[in-house]
């Protein structure tokens, strides 16, 4: 669509190739591990080989004898200058908040818990010296199973706390669930397990800490999603005054939540740099990261769904056990609660009853992983909808139609208490069904079943929504979160007409430089190429709340938009003066102020910027700048939605699953860059499908991580995944001026239940009603065997 008056094509909506790419495709990258500074030393960390033990004795002095070793520290050596690692989300008043020293002092509580630190001249020397450290461990019983952990007499992860229960968080809305349940014709009960996942950002974490030397500040380079939050928290943990600490997120190679964290190694780096007065680097090996970088998911979900015979939902009861792991990291306890409001999904019902209990175990702590609480919720309700359809002999799309919020019912306040501003589930679903060829696939499915084909076809449906745009600060207050949910942007109009956008978001693959350029170029009427976007350095961009939770566009992008509007407002005053006209008489289009009725009298916004640079001719009282900043506190969450359809072929003889087709129609509101949006959807789908079919962090009964290397944990490769057919509907959000909703997590949230629903759908005629994730050939084979032995008289029809 071209602007009729100016001939300028709007930037928002264009599939611009990314500005970020040039450096990345030529290897001119700045990953944290690439950074080197004069005098750099290397840190290696000795980690507990045991899940739970008392440190009886530890001696690091033999390590000091090793060649190249400069220093070695125990937890006690470092404890003096270092506080406990923070949890910013104490979700209840009586939550159990254990101490979490960056290096364990008396007790280790998961394999990989740090026990000592070696500093040496190079990474090989540091790693070698670890084996010289003497540690005597007195083994303590591991705590690995959440239900057993809550039972009377269980060994305790934190003995001083007297319990493994971290918190219990209830929510009951609508009518009384028990009463509603009485009215039900059908009550379905299911237990689903959200297996533990390892996020696997391709760039391992790394930290470079530089003490004051040629600069008066400490500088911390970290492979993080949240440089601004890290700065505040590191000031608290290390005692380095915040104004003397600069945090930089250089190029960051993916995060998916795993770098939304305040990590012990950041504190260790700063503490060692302070002790030695030397810059230090730590880079995790992948296997080390599997123990030291937080994990995701890990819930047991007990669900009860009450419905009428004609498929209308009456109520939903959810009982969650959520594995916290050994310690509470930055938002560990809050992650399951991000799902608390989303279990009812897009459906109407009369009662909703939710309880979540957080449980400590002797495993790596969990925290946000792409979707964070919302994939778990979506999985549960979407699996239950399919179970209900099966129970009632109803089509799985039809049962959803009977219950979802109609497009004419928005804004709609759900039973979970959220107000969904907009959406159109009908149109996304209809579009998806058509692209998918739903009816044809159903008839093929029937034929295969009739002829007893050993390769069964299954069709999985997932009609999801999610809450994005974290978050309105007042809601965060009500949820007892320790910070606000705003985002900052500022715009500098440079004298030569170029533009700098400073954003508090901290991209690590999402393409903010490109998208924010598009947003700013449209409002300011300047060329896309003339906009530079700066981010990820607290010295350049002092204020920010960083990147996670599909918030960046909805909060940070909107902040850029509003800051640009403020620039135009300020420029209008100056332009009015320069053009000797009143502000009301000025038009602004395509970067040009012109006087209504006399189009020859005009000034470009760049000319106005230059006029404020010289400032030779500004009226009294007018500030000589048109630079502006804006801090956006969103008024509401946003609610992307969509319909995902998956067809799988399941070989009942081998248990192998092949995804035959995957169609999704997502509604993420207005789209700034369709190419980037499509890429986000693809990547999200891959991770959601990986949970359904491939990935699981497995511990043995001693508490060792069995899937402890990339060779044992199945991150899918290109050959494991299909092509996706993606499309969109566009129902703008009504709660922000761009109409955007966020897209970072949609694919992950929607796809897991679509795939598992498809697998179960394929096997249901054989008596299978669930397959635990990941749906590996072995699990499918076992599910079929169990179903057969449960119904011997029916044989293997």
């Amino acid at each position: 669509m071209t602007d009729q008056l100016t001939g300028r094509e709007p930037e928002v909506g264009r599939a611009r190739v990314r500005k970020e790419d040039a450096r990345l495709v030529t290897g001119r990258t700045n990953w944290t591990d690439n950074i080197t500074v004069p005098g750099l030393l290397h840190i290696a960390i000795l980690r507990s080989p045991m899940a739970h033990a008392r440190i009886e004795r530890i001696d690091v002095t033999p390590a000091l004898e090793r060649p190249g070793v400069v220093a070695a520290y125990t937890g006690r050596d470092l404890a003096e200058g270092l506080g406990s690692l923070p949890c910013a989300w104490p979700v209840t008043e009586d939550i159990v908040l254990p101490e979490h020293p960056p290096v364990a002092v008396d007790e280790v509580r998961h394999t990989g818990d740090p026990v000592a630190v070696v500093v040496a001249r190079d990474r090989y020397a540091a790693a070698d010296a670890l084996e010289a450290i003497d540690v005597d461990y007195e083994p303590l019983p591991p705590v690995l199973n959440m239900e057993a952990a809550l039972a009377e007499g269980s060994p305790l992860v934190h003995a001083d706390k007297g319990t493994n229960r971290c918190y219990t968080w209830p929510l009951a809305t609508g009518e009384d669930y028990a009463t509603v349940r009485e009215r039900a014709d059908v009550v379905l009960r299911r237990r689903f397990v959200q297996q533990r996942l390892i996020p696997n950002a391709m760039e391992p974490r790394a930290v470079v800490a530089v003490p004051p030397d040629t600069s008066d500040q400490y500088t911390l380079y970290s492979a993080t999603q949240i440089p601004h939050i890290v700065r505040v928290m590191m000031a608290v943990v290390t005692g380095i005054p915040e104004h003397r600490l600069r945090v930089v997120a250089p190029d960051v190679g993916g995060g998916f939540g795993s770098k939304l964290q305040v990590y012990g190694e950041e504190a260790i780096g700063l503490a060692v740099a302070r002790k030695l007065g030397r810059p230090v680097k730590w880079t995790e090996s992948r296997s080390e990261g599997y123990l030291a970088t937080h994990h995701g998911r890990d819930q047991i979900q007990d669900l009860e769904l009450a419905a009428t015979r004609d498929g209308r939902l009456l109520g939903l009861k959810v009982d969650l056990l959520a594995d916290m792991g050994a310690y509470l990291m930055i938002v560990t306890p809050g992650v399951p609660l991000l799902g608390a409001f989303m279990f009812p999904g897009i459906y109407k019902m009369d009662a909703y009853d939710f309880t979540c209990t957080g449980v400590f175990t002797t495993k790596t702590p969990t925290d946000a992983y792409r979707g964070a609480g919302r994939p778990e919720a979506t999985f549960a309700i979407e699996r239950m909808m399919d179970e209900l359809a099966a129970e009632l002999g109803m089509d799985s799309v039809e049962v959803r139609r009977r219950n979802w919020i109609g497009h004419d019912e928005f804004p709609y306040t759900t039973i979970g208490g959220l107000t969904y501003d907009s959406g159109n589930y009908e149109s996304a679903t209809d579009k998806a069904l058509a692209l998918f060829g739903y009816d044809d696939l159903r008839s093929e499915q029937r034929k295969r079943e009739e002829r007893g084909d050993p390769v069964r076809l299954g069709i999985g449906v997932s009609t999801y929504t999610e809450m994005c745009g974290l978050a309105p600060s007042r809601i965060l207050r009500d949820l007892r979160y320790g910070a606000g949910g705003w985002e900052a942007a500022s715009i500098r109009m440079l004298p030569t007409g170029k533009v700098e956008v400073l954003t508090g978001t901290s991209p690590h693959g999402q393409g903010h430089v490109t998208s924010w350029s598009q947003i700013a170029a449209d409002v300011l009427g300047v060329p896309f190429e003339d906009v530079e976007v700066l981010h990820g350095d607290t010295r350049t961009v002092p204020q920010g709340m960083d990147t996670y939770g599909s918030r960046s566009l909805v909060v940070g992008g909107v902040a850029v938009h509003r800051a640009a509007r403020k620039v135009v407002d300020k420029a209008r005053k100056v332009a009015a003066h320069l053009l000797e006209a009143s502000e009301d008489d000025l038009d602004f289009a395509d970067g040009v102020f012109s006087v209504k009725g006399s189009p020859d009298a005009h000034k470009t916004i760049q000319e106005v910027a230059f006029a404020t640079f010289t400032s030779h001719d500004l009226p009294d009282g007018l500030e000589p700048t048109i630079n502006a900043e804006h801090v956006e506190d969103p008024e509401a969450f946003s609610y992307p939605h969509g319909t995902h359809l998956c067809a799988v072929e399941v070989d009942t003889e081998t248990g192998r699953v092949r995804i035959r087709s995957y169609v999704c129609v997502d509604d993420v509101g207005k789209v700034v860059n369709p190419m980037i949006v499509e890429g986000q959807v693809h990547g999200g789908l891959a991770q959601g499908i990986a949970q359904a079919l491939f990935e699981e962090a497995v511990y043995d009964e001693e508490g060792n991580l069995v899937s402890g290397t990339m060779a044992d944990y199945l991150v899918p490769c290109a050959a494991d995944l299909p092509d996706f057919l993606t499309d969109r509907t566009e129902t703008p959000a009504t709660t922000n001026p761009l109409g955007v909703k966020g897209v970072g997590e949609a694919g992950t949230i929607a796809s897991t239940p679509a795939v598992v629903n498809a697998v179960v759908d394929a096997l249901r005629p054989l008596g299978v009603t669930d397959v635990r994730m990941p749906c590996t050939p072995e699990r499918i084979w076992r599910a079929l065997r169990d179903a057969r032995s449960a119904r011997p008289e029916e044989g293997s029809s």
């Binding site: 960051v252 290109a718 092509d723």
Partner: protein, 180 residues
């Protein structure tokens, strides 16, 4: 310490190295060629791929001494001397085949090897050919598109029709919009 001489991205180097030094650490820590990253410690991810004497190798599984007398090309040596990108670099950019870009050097080096062996692969052959390279961001679909687009461009380049000008890769047809 062992003395090695190796040519990397067109420059000849002679160095004393520890026998156990990995090629990737030689490139990164000694030569400062940090365009080749390390993504794992079990030779699974492929992020570290470089070309050694005409074959792509995982440089985390090769010792620097094994490259003695050899010639290495990294992602940083792929563009032509006048800075013109390799068709794969261009295609990855145009097809949005990278997000964070951490896997990209390895993907491009692996794809280059793949296309040398099979200049006209099917999408399935591309997927199988890249089995040793992991990407956590893209879901691979755009990577497959990019490799096919680069293959098409290279074929056009190899055998231009009379009067035809080698064009950029075809824009993607599926999905929500061709890049501009």
């Amino acid at each position: 310490m062992t003395r090695i001489s190796v040519k990397v991205d067109g420059t000849a180097y002679e160095d004393e190295v520890e026998p156990r030094l990995l090629l990737v650490h030689y490139l990164r820590d000694r030569l400062g060629l940090t365009g080749t990253p390390v993504g794992c410690d079990t030779t699974n991810c492929g992020a570290c791929m470089v070309d050694l004497d005409g074959k792509s190798v995982k440089s985390c599984s090769v010792l620097a001494v094994q490259a003695d007398g050899g010639e290495v090309t990294t992602i940083q040596g792929l563009a032509s001397a006048d800075g013109e990108w390799h068709p794969l670099q261009r295609a990855f950019h145009e097809q949005h085949a990278l997000q964070c870009g951490f896997c990209t050097p390895g993907m491009i080096m692996a794809a280059r090897d793949l296309l040398r062996e099979n200049p006209d692969p099917t999408p399935e052959e591309v997927r199988e050919g890249l089995e040793g390279n992991l990407c956590r961001c893209t879901g691979y679909m755009n990577i497959v598109r990019a490799v096919l687009a680069a293959a098409a461009e290279e074929r056009r380049h190899q055998a231009p029709e009379p009067g035809a000008v080698a064009e950029h890769a075809e824009p993607s047809t599926a999905g929500s919009g061709a890049p501009v």
